[in-house]
């Protein structure tokens, strides 16, 4: 799970600035850049959070059981 989200984070984290730079250089249209950002910025946010979140394994429960 973490491996996949890390890969997604790196990928989307590269695509977002890359599309902005390419659009600034005139290599792609502005609309392509926006499409890339609309798709990959949310994925970047979510995958970043998923990467650095606390692990799902045994955690530190403040209180156990009723």
């Amino acid at each position: 799970m973490t491996g996949k989200t890390k890969a997604l984070m790196v990928l989307s984290g590269l695509i977002c600035p890359a599309s902005a730079i390419l659009a600034a250089a005139g290599a792609i249209d502005a609309i392509v850049m926006v499409a890339a950002l609309v798709i990959f910025f949310p994925l970047f946010v979510i995958s970043t959070f998923l990467t650095w979140k606390a692990s799902d394994h045994e955690g530190d429960y403040p209180f156990i059981g009723y």
């Binding site: 977002c16 600035p17 902005a20 730079i21 659009a23 600034a24 502005a30 850049m33 926006v34 950002l37 609309v38 798709i39 910025f41 949310p42 994925l43 946010v45 979510i46 970043t48 959070f49 998923l50 650095w52 979140k53 606390a54 692990s55 799902d56 955690g59």
Partner: protein, 285 residues
């Protein structure tokens, strides 16, 4: 183009900061100390570090996808606003936001989320026609492109000061008001239904939602300022947005939450007045 990416990051940052200021001002008006203005920022970070999973009862794919869609539409909205695109698309994105609110509540299977989702449908009935009155701006300025509207304002002075456009400004103000936290129309996240449609989105999902909401607040406030005051340099825009937000903080601090159907009725009455005004203005002009 790179500036748009920077604007995006700025929107997240400023949106969260303004949420914090909003909370602080409400607290001070109610003579409480209130949290620090960075609270919402810390809040989002804290949520993002938490253990996270998907509730067993949820519609798994939708539970996650709706968070992504929520951020995505406001990224699009920010672009439309910054490039002076069509006001109609901005209007569409506001409506799509209502849909994601609805989906947010429905996807979890929690009864509280469901209540929030149902209330989101109820409030959609009044918020959306209210926004449609903004279409009356077309009557005044003759265009729906935000760049044309700001050009009109540069030539003829701010729309806020013109008598004809004032009711539209009020309608738009009510729209933005009904989207800031703790507002009197915010029946979908009222505390009697825990957190309404956000109840089951915890941890990373909530952090993602807060990010989306931050961009949303930025876009809506900036849209209000741009539409009714005009194109301003960034620092003036931020100050104007803050002033608009502070007026809303006063309203939020001093008014109780309305009951669901009354919130709809009050907003419907506001539409009624605006529509009558527009018709009369249209006949006179």
């Amino acid at each position: 183009m790179i500036s748009f990416l920077l604007y995006l990051l700025l929107a997240v940052f400023i949106g969260l900061l303004y949420h914090g200021i909003h909370r602080k001002v409400i607290a001070r008006i109610q003579t409480r100390p209130g949290p620090p203005v960075w609270q919402e920022f810390l809040h989002t970070l804290k949520f993002s570090f938490k253990q996270t999973w998907i509730p067993m009862t949820a519609s798994q794919l939708m539970f996650v996808a709706i968070v992504v869609i929520m951020i995505a539409i406001w990224v699009g909205g920010l672009y439309v606003l910054l490039t002076g695109g069509s006001l109609l698309i901005l209007f569409a994105i506001f409506l799509l936001h209502k849909i994601t609110e609805h989906g947010l509540g429905l996807s979890s299977g929690s009864p509280y989320g469901k209540f929030g989702a149902i209330r989101s449908v109820i409030s959609a009935a009044s918020e959306i026609p209210l926004f449609a009155t903004v279409g009356a701006i077309y009557m005044v300025t003759g265009s729906l492109m935000i760049s044309d509207i700001t050009a009109y304002e540069a030539a003829n002075g701010p729309l806020l000061l013109s008598v004809i456009a004032l009711p539209m400004a009020i309608a738009m103000y009510v729209i933005v008001l009904s989207k800031v936290p703790y507002n009197p129309f915010g029946i979908i996240e009222a505390k009697e239904i825990v957190s309404g449609n956000k109840t089951e989105h915890f941890g990373v999902w909530r952090a993602g939602l807060e990010t989306g909401f931050a961009i949303k607040t930025f876009v809506l406030l900036a849209a209000f300022v741009t539409l009714f005051i005009g194109a301003l340099p960034l620092w003036l825009l931020l100050i104007a947005m803050l002033i608009v937000l502070l007026t809303m903080s006063f309203i939020c601090a001093l008014t109780p939450m309305l009951s669901p159907y009354d919130a709809v009725t009050i907003q419907a009455l506001i539409i009624g007045f605006v529509v009558v005004y527009v018709v009369i203005a249209g006949v006179i002009l």
